[in-house]
Symmetry: C2
Subunit: 405 residues, 2 copies
């Protein structure tokens, strides 16, 4: 028994749905039963949101918006189930109501509370494939909810955890790469990545897997696999521990966030609670990222979109104090290297900074965690920095030389 999840691009058109049904037909012969979680077809969710905004002056009621959006997954689930039946596979579609996917009532970003596994198991006795609507849940009282963008991954992993089986996430990307394969030619696809590395990369903006899905997989030790729907190319296993025969690399992957703004606060007053005054004010309303303190100066970064809001918040909070200055720099990027291996490998930080220096990249700030080194730098130097780091840490596939003899 196994859980699969297919993204919107895998069911974007009738011919893709038929092709997916053929693939599942073959897989259903090898397995004791497949639970398939599907996203809405292609850009359906975006179109529905646009429609909702049109009828409601741009701000649709959240409860009704969820009632609307859940139809996208019900359409793709029903179509896949009928394509499977038409291909001769015993299949049935189930929505969140029928499967009793209980959620909180935080519309638009609800959390899964429970899933009726008994119901699913009884379905699997009678059907070789059970197609489950992704993205949706049901709150107490019967209101439909959505579980947040990208949450179908999480639902898939939660169902796998509940059933105690493996989970395979399929999309148009063939696995997890050390860096965005559209940005670096020949960047290495990973055979294995550990939960913590995947979490760190997802938090840094890698879009392969929803981070809540990885968190749930880690907590319940669900073996995750990310692969390509329509190709046999080998994908990536997301695991707690690498298999023994796999050598742990120092750096597993890279990430870059190009839309950062750097705030430098100088000559801050010597009030003891100045940092808490500052960051408590920001905590509720803005995502503050790298924070560094040295002497009387504090530097932090945030998304460029939040720049103005943060600047006025800081000014308001520090109004009682005088003498301080704020310097705001746009066009800053954060480049990060992530790897469980840097815990044990020596000299990773040294290699990181040497690689940047070799590319003539100036470092504007640094933060580190157990498995992450991030450097702040000028956005126009980000590509060079990433390329230097990818080379340094062996993240680019070496083409085998053609033997001459």
């Amino acid at each position: 028994m196994i859980v699969h999840k297919y993204g919107g691009s895998s069911v974007a058109a009738p011919e893709k749905i038929r092709a997916l049904a053929d693939i599942l037909k073959k897989k259903a012969q090898d397995d004791d039963g497949i639970v398939v979680i599907v996203s809405a077809m292609g850009k359906t969710t975006d179109s529905l949101i646009a429609l909702a905004k049109e009828v409601s002056d741009g701000s649709p009621d959240p409860r009704e918006l969820d009632m609307l959006l859940v139809t996208g997954e019900q359409v793709s689930a029903a179509l896949l189930a009928m394509a499977l039946k038409s291909a001769g596979v015993e299949a049935i579609s189930r929505n969140a109501n029928q499967l009793q996917v209980a959620s909180t009532d935080f519309y638009g970003d609800a959390r899964i509370r429970d899933i009726n596994a008994a119901r699913l198991l009884s379905d699997l006795e009678k059907h070789s494939v059970v197609v489950v609507t992704g993205f949706q849940g049901v709150a107490d009282g019967g209101d439909m909810t959505t579980l947040g963008r990208g949450s179908s991954d999480t639902l898939a992993v939660a169902i796998a955890a509940k059933l105690g089986v493996d989970c395979e996430i399929y999309s148009d990307v063939a696995g997890v790469y050390a860096f965005d394969p559209n940005k670096i030619d020949g960047v290495r696809k990973l055979d294995y990545i550990q939960y913590d590395e995947m979490l760190e990369l997802a938090a840094l903006g890698a879009k392969v897997l929803h981070s809540r899905a990885v968190e749930v997989a880690k907590r319940y030790n669900v073996k995750l696999y990310c692969g390509s729907t329509f190709s046999d190319e080998r994908g990536t296993y997301v695991v707690a521990q690498l298999p023994e025969w796999v050598e742990q690399p120092a750096v597993t992957g890279l990430a870059v966030d190009r839309n950062q703004t750097k705030f430098a606060l100088k000559k801050l007053p010597h009030a003891e609670d100045i940092l808490s005054i500052l960051f408590e004010a920001l905590a509720g309303t803005a995502n503050v990222d790298m924070i560094a303190m040295a002497g009387d100066d504090v530097t932090f970064t945030a998304r460029e979109a939040e720049k103005d809001r943060i600047a006025s918040l800081v000014e308001e909070r520090l109004k009682p104090y005088t003498g301080w200055e704020m310097e705001i720099s746009d066009g800053v990027a954060k480049v990060s290297a992530v790897g469980v291996g840097m815990n044990t490998a020596t000299g990773v930080a040294g290699r990181f900074f040497s690689a940047l220096r070799a590319e003539n990249v100036g470092v504007l700030g640094v933060s580190t965690s157990e498995i992450n080194i991030s450097a702040l730098l000028r956005a126009d130097q980000a590509d060079r920095a990433v390329m230097g780091l990818a080379n340094e840490f062996g993240l680019i596939e070496r083409k085998d030389r053609v033997s001459e003899s």
Copy 2:
């Protein structure tokens, strides 16, 4: 408290949904609460069916097809509810699950078994408009069902019956006409029509109201009103009895079915059970319409589309017998006049046939019921026949002459 139903053309686009929300906002101020049943937007159901056929070699699984089709009404219900909320009206959408619209599990054409009126009443305590998805029900076990094309009318009437309130059916047609207003210029719109007349006209192909809706209205004595969504033009009341001050016309409306085929069976054997042998065979598989017998000859009609199937059924069943002949005539039309008044008015049949003769229309067959006279004639004479009957029975509005003084 009142029940409204709006057809697909009333919610076909975002701007129509907003306009409808504005109309409902005004109406909500006069009423104790409105239950609004909506159809899917415009041609949504047709598009979904096309999609279903594409993924399933033309024959989608009925259970999954219903799972797919119900999304159409959920989209329009959610959009209307959010448009209402955005216009400042306390509104909420409810699907068949939430409202517990229990149905049989005959997918594609399920019958309503019950509706949770208590739930609806409790919603109406907190909201001035409750928007209910048309077309859908829930079978035992939780499968979604659809109630048949046009069944949102029926659901609206059933809800009105359950609540003991009136029901108003809105569409892009301003009421019930004595005949299709696109076919006869100036044909009379009816202020009132009786349930039985409406049933007869609906059975004869008038498309204003779903006949099951009229049956339910009749059984539970629900006062029905058919009107135009976006105009203030006066519509039509469908009632058990005309108000006392309204004179009962002899003929209320006309109908024509242009796609009939006439089967004439001659020299049938004198077996006693020959008619039951014949029509029992046809009953399960074809819709046989007018049946007339005279001497050893039997004439009946059926839809042209069923011609070949019926012909081979007849040949198969009468194979044991010899000497009989079958004559099949295409291009036959049935023209009907319907009116409760013909029960009491004298000479209606005489006027009917005189009007046809005056138009030089030849009558190929006749059948009558309490409130219906139907004549079979050549299809190319149908227009003339209808016009003659409309004039004879006063079904065309007389333009008032402009006074000269």
